[in-house]
Symmetry: D2
Subunit: 285 residues, 4 copies
């Protein structure tokens, strides 16, 4: 299962025809009740559907896991996305040593980047960079906590490109800001659990208008990925009431650097002008 | 030199009285012309001030470095802060393999967190958390790209605490937003190279008003640290035209988690209310 | 009908028991089909319900109008609120002389203020000013085009008062920004046709929390007024696709001046400090 | 002096060569000390420079005024612009009856519009509307309290036009937001006393880039007008610590209606789409 846990549901569906009768019962139970399954032992999952523990273990191996614990871990990852903040606060208390939150959080964030590095699809990344250069207009949307990432990306892309538009909740509605969106445009949507409903609606609108969509999100199972032509996956997991946007920010750094490198001459020119402006108006210390 | 390169200038000054006459010449040259010294070999630095190469090497060892290359590295780190974007764009081209910006950037960001983990002062972190609970009002300021970090921190602290104020460039000036600041208040300032002049002015204003100041910045040599009671150091280095705010964001995650854990009951209550609001108004997918 | 056209529907309902049989037919028709009635002559309205033209005229007088034209004007005012922008664009074309939009608009805005001056309730105004001074915290909300008015009011009140909070669509949801709202607080809501649904929801939330509500709106029939303890009425009518916020802005000027005058000493002190800040930082030309 | 008080200083300078010796003394005194002269009687002004009261009166008539009181009014108008908020607060106390701030303010605002109606130049208005249609990109800037007017104008123009950009203090500096400005672009700058220094700097930048500039401001003597190709004058006078933006907002209404009327078909189409979006997403009550 080299890093593709996100495809768990699809794998179950694609392997389904070849499964034994007992394994099919397990598959059906998981597809319907994965939130319960995630917290059952192999024995209990088996008895729930009327098969033996060893059938459950073979089912996990059939799907490509080393054993049942690995399958269960994948299920729990799926479930976590759906937890309420209250449940997650409880988890934080268990998982983060309050005496050492600082080191715990920094280590978890290193792990988030490491895991992103393993899982991220370089080909998708390159396609996304190309899509940025091919678009008529580029709309960047990220609401709630992802707003910070969207602002950061828009701030830099605006320095290099003439056709970047930031879509915000604010004075006017997000749909009004995208009223001229069409099939020549690209929407870059940034969203992590818990996914803002408004961002999803923006992507539905983008699809109606036949615009290209690139999602920067945490999983191929996310509702953003479901509406995207390209999905860059960055791990936001922190087993805490705060979702970490550290790995996503690193991915956005990579997007900015790649776009900047491809436009190196223009970027150099823009920076030359900016340096003059900055000096004249004492912007920097 | 256990991670304390930031103190290079202070170390030179404190060791100065005990240095030999030749070493004093080197010290004076570095204090005045560190931007030139950073790119000289030991031999050239020696000849610039009229001493031998081996005197330069002994000088480095005297300061606590393993040798001249380590001293030179410290000097180059100091210089980098002062580079213009145009110079940095040139560096990016050299250092980031355009064919593989994605992996290059993610690895650099893991290294930024790893280095932060080594250097960050846990005692300062704890003192800052305490200062947050002792303050009458907490003002959070981060301008330009650090705005994203300031918004993220304010978004979460506002959920737990009643006395958090976000200071923004916008409708009114930052000073107007701090007009009621006094010695019972805490200002959390976030700033990374290139340091916004306006943030520095805000801290000068805070010091006039005798408010406590906590800086989240990249070095004890930063102008924010120079005005702070507490400085949390996070590495923002990316040898690129974009400064990475990944490690600083991870440190801010740690601040949020620590504050939240200390206010666990209230946070649980707030989240309970928020879950109801979110459900009622379809905020999440 | 001293300025109370807004109560038309209530008046009809309260007078209903005392009306003649023929007048009751007219009343019922208007309550159900006021959008049609608004554009019928007295004769046609009569024939629609099977009564004479003179019965319709007596009905208007019975309600307190000078005649049928005044009743019809009230009905048209009600209808206008419900027009779509497309219908209103058509009206603009008819009513504004494109050759002279400038004078037409300025004259219409003078008339908006004149009419506001006649209709506004001074006692309510005074009660609102008192409510501002009695509140624990003051939340100001105005979304979409009313955002400009809310920002303007908050900008000035923030200079005099310590407890003013601006509620915006943005990074966080408006409900999250009001999470600590309680019965000691005041919500000042600003909204004009077409009324933002989100502002209405904010007021429903405020009522649940038992906070006091002051509405600045265009009519006692507005959904904001229906949820308010105090309603300041300012005319926003422009018979155009743009609603004029000129008279509302003038009313807000009056609120600011009144609050400022009651806090004259503190305002003087604040302005003294601001003048120093402004001079030091070259804020003004 | 049909409305051209703003040119007072220029008139004095142009008439200077033809003045009598005594009149020249008065002219010099006024040019240097107009802030004092504004509050002197004709007799005292005369004795200050060593001429008779009747020489002062003839001087006023020579400049085109009906008498000295009219000249003095012009001088006082000039001075008002320079008053600090503390001085203006004092004036408010004298001029606004605290018992009746509501009516006083509304009446003053009607007068502001009436006076604007008299003074505004229709030809300039038409030229500005044309400039909007001819521009490659339109940048709208208004800082501090004028931000509300700029947002309102940008909100509506963005519905009709594809090339409108709002320039804000915020995440990035205003100059960065205008980095692509060139001679084919139009900058609409909105500013009233006390004029924001940053807006002036933005216009200096616009002139360097040879962009067209349209100012919406309170006087031809304003520093915005001095940098503008077209100046729309709206009276913001309120003899209070708050400058009234009521007449300027009315002028902006006229700009929006005029642009909308000229693009009637597109506006109708846009509104059709918006109505669908608004209905689908429950934007309005």
């Amino acid at each position: 299962m080299e890093g593709n846990r996100d495809d768990l549901m699809r794998i179950i569906q694609s392997r389904y025809p070849k499964l034994s009768k007992g394994q099919k019962l397990i598959a059906e139970f998981i597809l319907k009740h994965y939130d319960k399954a995630a917290f059952l032992t192999a024995a209990k999952l088996g008895s729930s559907v009327g098969v033996s523990e060893s059938t459950v273990v073979r089912f996990a191996i059939e799907l490509g896991y080393e054993g049942y614990p690995e399958l269960q871990k994948s299920l729990q990852d799926l479930v976590k996305v759906k937890l309420t903040t209250v449940q997650r606060l409880e988890l934080t208390h268990n998982l983060v040593d309050t005496e050492n939150a600082l080191k715990g959080v920094l280590k978890a964030d290193m792990e988030n980047i490491r895991s992103t590095l393993e899982k991220i699809n370089e080909k998708t990344f390159d396609e996304m960079i190309n899509a940025i250069f091919e678009a008529r207009n580029i709309y960047i949307i990220g609401l709630r906590s992802s707003n910070t990432l969207a602002d950061f990306l828009a701030f830099y892309l605006n320095l290099f490109l003439e056709n970047v538009r930031s879509v915000h909740q604010g004075y006017s509605d997000i749909f009004e800001q995208m009223i001229k969106l069409n099939e020549k445009d690209l929407v870059i949507a940034i969203g992590f659990p818990r996914y803002s409903q408004k961002t999803i609606e923006a992507l539905d609108f983008a699809k109606e208008r036949k615009a290209k969509v690139c999602a920067i999100t945490d999983s191929l199972l996310s509702p953003l990925a479901a509406r995207a032509d390209y999905s860059l996956i960055a791990q936001s997991n922190m087993a805490s009431f705060v979702d970490s946007l550290v790995a996503p920010l690193s991915v956005i750094n990579a997007v900015i650097v790649s776009v900047g490198m491809k436009k190196k001459e223009q970027v150099g020119e823009v920076f030359g002008i900016l340096e003059e402006i900055w000096a004249k108006h004492d912007i920097f210390n």
